[in-house]
């Protein structure tokens, strides 16, 4: 995306949601905006309908756990299929209560992505029609991609220190 295009895009967003934008950066030519969590669904809706942005395709939605910051970032990647522009939106949530509004109201396809994010990070999407685990076993009690949980299966016995001298 050209620099001027990026500037124009940020200007369009700031026209209406100036107070919501916390940070604007370009990571390897990929425009990344850090937003506050309150109006995220409205902002995505606005970018969907605005004649100049038309971000009408949700490439992906996922989360990143930052243990140092004690925060979970929700990352939305949007795509304008007409002008081939891409945009990344990041919203930081506190680890104690990661709650954010659902965007299934804008993209029906976000349904399973939000369920997956809930499954692995425990993010609560308010207003989601069916927020339950999608990939892991139903009776799992942890959110495995949070970094406080060990990756390895703790019940495995053949990798003990006794055998490998670690």
């Amino acid at each position: 995306m050209e620099v001027t295009e990026q500037e124009r895009l940020v200007a369009i967003l700031k026209e209406r949601y100036d107070d919501q934008v916390e940070k604007v950066e370009t990571i390897q030519e990929f425009l990344t905006l850090t937003l506050k969590k309150e109006n995220i669904a409205d902002i995505i809706q606005y970018l969907y309908h605005h004649p100049e942005t038309k971000f009408q395709f949700l490439t992906t939605l996922f989360a990143v756990h930052y243990p140092d910051l004690n925060q979970i970032a929700i990352v939305y990647q949007l795509h304008n299929l007409v002008s081939n522009q891409r945009l990344r939106l990041k919203v930081y949530l506190p680890i104690e209560n990661p709650t954010i509004k659902t965007i299934t109201t804008v993209f029906a396809g976000a349904n399973w992505m939000e369920r997956e994010t809930y499954d692995f990070f425990g993010v609560n999407f308010e207003g989601h029609p069916d927020l339950r685990r999608i990939l892991n076993v139903e009776d799992m009690i942890i959110f495995p991609l949070r970094k406080e949980y060990p990756l390895e299966d703790q019940t495995r016995e053949d990798k003990s220190d006794k055998m490998f001298g670690r």
């Binding site: 990756l151 390895e152 019940t155 990798k159």
Partner: protein, 187 residues
């Protein structure tokens, strides 16, 4: 080219068990007859989830040909199967399904665990993968390898054949066997 008939070894479809033989009769124990029949007509149920399943396909193919061992008839219903062949990574979510398949099999039943993943979780030492199917169902023979070659799978099947042949007819009614199943919470 000339062929000499003296070197030709005769192969039989199945080895005759020990017994008394005379003119027009052959006497042996029932155990041995049943063992012989079962050993050479094992119906496997392939539970193939990943690359070990691909090796199994080669095992069933013309080159290696498991049919030579009387196992050409795969049973895709557990109710008619004798041998459960678990080939591949079993995720924790798949665990109850595998267990249900095992429970639906009629006695006598055997289980062959093919490959590192089915036997121990293999390289997938992670929160989502079952660390060996012997945590949920009893296993008779383990085949190592990642994935094992068809020769190794055939070796595993031959070990199963040996178990089938030599198993006592009373084993499945024994207290030890029932206690072993109870340990897995089956029945």
């Amino acid at each position: 080219m000339e062929t000499s008939t003296s070197n030709i070894k005769t192969y039989t479809m199945a080895e005759k068990p020990e017994g008394y033989e005379g003119a027009g009769f052959f006497a042996t124990s029932l155990d041995k007859v049943v063992g012989l029949a079962r050993k050479n007509s094992i119906w496997p149920l392939p539970f193939a989830t990943s690359c070990c399943g691909i090796e199994f396909m080669a095992t069933m193919g013309a080159h290696y040909d498991l049919a030579r061992f009387g196992s050409e008839r795969l049973s895709f219903s557990p109710r008619q199967a004798d041998l459960l062949m678990v080939m591949g990574t079993i995720a924790k979510k798949m665990g109850p399904i595998l267990r249900q398949v095992y429970e639906q099999m009629a006695e006598p039943r055997w289980v062959l665990s093919v490959g590192a993943c089915a036997s121990s979780g293999g390289i997938f030492d992670t929160y989502s993968v079952l660390q060996g199917i012997d945590r949920i169902i009893p296993v008779d023979v383990y085949v190592p390898g990642c994935p094992p070659r068809p020769e190794q799978i055939i070796d595993g099947v031959m070990k199963i054949q040996h178990l089938v042949e030599t198993e006592s007819l009373r084993r499945r009614d024994s207290a030890e066997y029932k206690a072993m199943l109870n340990k897995y919470g089956i029945e």
